[in-house]
């Protein structure tokens, strides 16, 4: 009665989990695809199939185009910063002789705090009159008048990206640190004997071995950043004047403020395709 030799046992063990994922993720996704082909709104009960009309409408919807551009720009800026800072943090943690456990715990704190809570805290820190950021900049003599960070699009973006990087760079650092610890120290010793300096050891030993881990961290972060919602919803609500409205925020408004589920579902599908596109691009890269 060895468990491993009974195929139907595997099926029985797998079924509940796969069914739950099917019911909560895949079936709703198909349902949403269907809804996106209709003019269904919560205001009028009936739904008529309208074919690809909702998808056609995307191309002429300036708000959709603008929020897509904002989403991609946000991903590009924040993920680049996260990867660089996360890499730096990982190298720093790898160097630490003592207190690595304590530092690792500290690094986990931003990750563990709910985004809603940290978003509100950052909103407060970027407050023009009361915030710590303006107080610090003033004390350093960098600004003379308080800066209304969240009142202008460019500065609001800066604030949002700082908050995002603060939360996610530690996560990137932990993944990269795990990768660094996998590099056998004999390789460094061999490279040192061959006369490789610090930079060449990093360039020719660390980087090639770390490459898969870096790509995976990049994929995780890109997917996660593409669907950003909580942070921006809490910090600016998409404002000022829609200047920080990303795709998921726009879709949420169409769905739950306008109650237009047909068009809203087309919007969420566009985002889903964007995420899948990135994953496939990554997978092809990883296979090569």
């Amino acid at each position: 009665m060895v468990v491993g030799r009974k195929p139907y046992v595997h099926g029985l063990l797998l079924a509940p989990a796969l069914m739950a994922i099917g019911v909560v993720v895949f079936f709703p996704l198909l349902y949403s695809l269907y809804v996106s082909l209709t003019d269904f709104t919560l205001r009028n009960a009936g739904a008529n199939l309208v074919g690809l009309r909702n998808y056609h409408a995307l191309f002429t919807d300036l708000r959709f185009v603008a929020s897509t551009v904002r989403t991609i720009a946000f991903v590009a800026c924040s993920v680049t910063a996260e990867m660089l800072i996360g890499f730096g943090l990982a190298l720093l943690m790898h160097q630490l002789a003592r207190g690595r456990g304590l530092f690792r715990a500290v690094v986990l704190v931003p990750w563990a705090i709910p985004t809603v809570v940290s978003g509100l805290t950052w909103r407060w820190m970027f407050n023009d009159r009361l915030g710590a950021v303006n107080a610090a900049l003033k004390a350093a003599g960098l600004i003379h008048q308080p800066l209304a960070w969240l009142a202008g699009s460019a500065t609001a973006w800066a604030a949002i990206i700082v908050a995002e990087v603060w939360k996610t760079a530690p996560f990137v650092a932990l993944i990269i640190l795990a990768g660094l610890q996998m590099v056998p120290s004999e390789l460094y010793e061999a490279a040192t004997i061959d006369g490789a300096g610090r930079w060449r050891r990093f360039r020719h030993v660390t980087l090639p071995l770390l490459w898969p881990t870096l790509l995976l961290a990049l994929l995780f972060r890109t997917i996660d950043a593409l669907r950003v919602f909580d942070l921006i919803a809490v910090m600016t609500g998409g404002g000022p004047a829609g200047g920080t409205e990303v795709l998921s925020l726009y879709a949420h408004k169409v769905l739950f403020a306008h109650l237009d589920f047909g068009y809203g579902s087309a919007l969420t599908f566009a985002l889903f395709l964007l995420v899948m596109g990135c994953s496939v691009a990554y997978a092809r890269r990883a296979v090569r």
Binding site: V9, L92, R104
Partner: protein, 274 residues
């Protein structure tokens, strides 16, 4: 000599980075302990420890204790069920052969890529027609399904390290299926299962978008939604918001400080090729 200098430099840098990482939490804690007058005056440090904001939050004036109970119940139940179903699935995957296991994992991970907003709109409609809006089940069901991919992924990483020979040894000793699971695998798998449960709990506790959309009735709100809704009325009651934030965050920070080694191993399980 140079090496030692480098080490202490790294220590100093780590100290500075650590303070920067903790700063928002410290600022939040400090604002929670101020009076509203002190906050309006733009102070950074409270003149004394004022616990008024905490009293307001916990006295039930804001239904906040109710939000806490809701979150505890929803996140606890979801994490329990997700780990139960996830363990069964992950265990089966370790016995499936590499190819089949990878195929199943690929499907499971595709589910993890679906953006929350894409899941929320159909789930809202489906739960609405099932009459499950503003119920605990209305959040527990989606949380289980949405966290299962991650739970299976992490548990698979842990279970893969358990040697299959144990099973044969147990069979030779005359243990049946249930006995093998109970006496051989459960004790060995417990740390990994526990870590996964903690991670799923944190994810559910922190979740915002679904909670915001599915449970809109005040009595059914979770803590994250409750905190985000404080601002609504007239002026931002920062002191109260931060007191509530501290109450929500403190258990997580404590959990992370105590369990950091396990949490990190869970988060990076499967992320690094061996």
């Amino acid at each position: 000599m140079i090496r030692r200098k480098g080490r202490s430099l790294a220590g100093a840098a780590a100290g500075a980075v650590g303070i920067a990482l903790l700063a928002p939490f410290i600022i939040q804690l400090s604002a929670a302990l101020m009076t509203s007058g002190e906050i309006a005056a733009g102070r950074l440090v409270p003149s004394a420890l004022h616990f008024g904001n905490f009293r307001t939050v916990l006295s039930g004036q804001h239904a906040f204790p109710r939000y806490l109970a809701n979150s505890l119940l929803i996140a606890g139940t979801s994490s329990l069920i997700a780990v139960l179903l996830g363990s069964a699935a992950a265990f089966a995957l370790t016995r499936l052969g590499r190819r089949a296991a990878l195929a199943v994992l690929l499907v499971v991970l595709t589910a993890a890529m679906v953006p929350q907003i894409a899941a929320v709109s159909p789930l809202f409609l489906l739960l609405r027609s099932a009459g499950l809006l503003n119920t605990y089940a209305g959040l527990v069901i989606p949380y289980v399904g949405l966290n299962l991919p991650l739970a299976i992924w992490i548990l698979y990483g842990f279970f893969r390290q358990l040697p299959p020979e144990l099973e044969e040894a147990a069979a030779i000793d005359g243990a049946g299926f249930a006995g093998t699971i109970r006496h051989v695998y459960m004790p060995l798998a417990a740390p990994g299962v526990f870590t996964t449960a903690i991670l799923v709990f944190i994810f559910c506790w922190n979740e915002f978008l679904l909670a915001l959309t599915i449970n809109t009735a005040d009595a059914m709100r979770t803590v994250t939604v409750g905190i985000a809704m404080f601002p609504g009325q007239y002026e931002m009651p920062w002191g109260v918001i931060f007191a509530a934030s501290v109450v929500v965050t403190l258990p997580l920070v404590a959990l992370v400080l105590v369990l950091q080694r396990r949490i990190v191993s869970g988060l990076t399980a499967g992320a690094v090729k061996e």
